[in-house]
């Protein structure tokens, strides 16, 4: 068969664009890792010799550890709360027969589509009006709104394909309703829980525009602490911290791949 020229050209273009995209996307990451391993105190790629000196300094960065712990704590709480709230709401939306189900689904996913900065600003004024000035509870509450849409979106998609007769089957085989949900629905929907949970967790862990309004001097989340380091004294220690974050993100994706498969996660 004679292959027409135009599709061939198109295909070549597509491959070039894909290669360019991947290089372009990974460039800042590669540079960050490179700078972190270079002995030079100015930002440049290592020339021959590698050094771990900037990693040794990471531990001495003021406020880093509390920021990491705070971010982990907030993300873990928000993800746990969202998984519970999101699962219940997703069941209601998929299984219920009441009017306005679609509207509820849209409402619960909408924080994802609206500017985080505006949401953060609105929350700040709201919490102040309610007299809530503590940073920690504000952050915990606000991050539920960050994570919930991720969980909601993947669970609605997962539940739409879930056969609820499986729960009936487990009940007739000797499991009470709650145990049937736990032993059948949870494992069958595990990919949705994991995907929604992981992306939600990362979204909370990385969130800047909402957190910026709710933190105080004693409660800085990691992104806010990082941005401050950038503004203060940019030296390659930041590159080392960034590389550690890249490694953490890689680890999370690796877990996701083992448990769900990347190509399913790409559908998010």
């Amino acid at each position: 068969m004679r292959r027409p020229l135009l599709p061939l050209l198109g295909l070549a273009l597509a491959w070039i664009m894909l290669a360019a995209s991947v290089i372009f996307l990974l460039a800042p990451l590669v540079v960050t890792v490179g700078v972190s391993l270079s002995p030079s105190p100015v930002f440049q790629l290592p020339q021959g010799e590698l050094s771990w000196r900037w990693y040794a300094r990471v531990g001495r960065l003021e406020g880093l550890l509390p920021a990491v712990l705070l971010s982990l704590q907030v993300a873990a709480f928000a993800t746990a709360a969202s998984l519970v709230l999101g699962t219940l709401a997703a069941i209601a939306v998929v299984r219920g027969q009441f009017p306005g189900r679609e509207a509820i689904a849209t409402f619960l996913v909408s924080p994802l589509m609206l500017p985080g900065l505006v949401i953060g600003l609105a929350m700040l004024q709201y919490f102040r009006a309610l007299g809530l000035r503590e940073a920690l509870p504000s952050l915990l509450l606000a991050h539920v709104i960050i994570v919930l849409p991720y969980v909601m979106r993947t669970l609605v998609a997962g539940l739409a394909l879930f056969d609820f007769a499986l729960i009936d089957a487990a009940r007739t085989l000797g499991l009470s309703y709650p145990r049937a949900v736990l032993r059948v629905m949870v494992p069958v929907l595990a990919p949705s829980f994991i995907t929604g949970g992981l992306f939600g967790f990362l979204a909370s862990f990385d969130n800047y525009p909402i957190s910026i309004f709710l933190t105080d001097v004693y409660h800085r989340t990691l992104p806010i602490q990082l941005l401050q380091y950038l503004g203060e004294s940019p030296d390659p220690t930041i590159a080392a911290v960034s590389t550690l974050i890249i490694a953490l993100t890689l680890l999370v994706l690796f877990i996701g791949d083992r448990m769900v498969g990347l190509s399913r996660m790409a559908g998010v």
Partner: protein, 280 residues
Amino acid sequence: MRGAARLPSPGIGWLALPACAVAALLFALPLLLLLAVSLHGDGGWTLRGYARFLGAAYSWQVIGRTLALAFWTTLICLALGYPAAFALARTRGAVQSLLIAALLLPLSLSVIVKAFGWTVLLRGNGVVNRLLMASGLTDAPLRLLFTEAGLLIGITNIFLPFMILPIFTVVRQIDPRLGDAATTLGGGPWHNFVRVTLPLTLPGVVAGVTLVFSLSIAAYVIPNLLMGDRYQTLSTTIATAFLYLQDPQRGSVAGVVLLALSLAVVVGSAWLARRARATP
């Protein structure tokens, strides 16, 4: 009504109540309060905040700049991402997994880390300039950081995966025989693309464009880091008004304007998505 699956389960709708209550209390009410603050001033309801903000030529410059930035970002992402998604859909197995990982990693990575990478890449004695000079394309360092070109590079970099992935998920579901069918019907390659492939991938394009555009108009960290304080978009205006000027009304007004733009994008894309599905 067939079998067990469709028997009514009364009361199951109440399971949505906790999530709805949380979202109403922590999300809807704050936004309503924001609207109220933007309409409140001098001890009463007033549109003065809007008049003040929208009456200033500077504000329109900011709005125009925000929209232009989002427009160019979306266009570049589409031009890169649409063909890239096609190539990605043609890969198989481990290669595809690796490439998807290469998209998901930057997507899941903190924007601040990526922004930091770009400040290193773009600075006067940074990697890009060294490469340019070493290759002999330029003999003096180009100014990239704190320019709109640099900003566009950085912001495109952040949002490109959000364009590729939705298009990819649509493209990989297209039956490859459709192209053959169109060819046997006498369609040329260009004709095939316009009449068969493009309409089929349109839902993915709409999803990608919506995501990238609405994320771009709200972007804050990247403009702030790559351009500094003097380059004002709607997002930086909100932050400045609130965090430095202590002017909640101005910040709220700018916030409502940005919110309205986002809602317009979301509603408009929902309408477009419905059209894309309905068109044969």
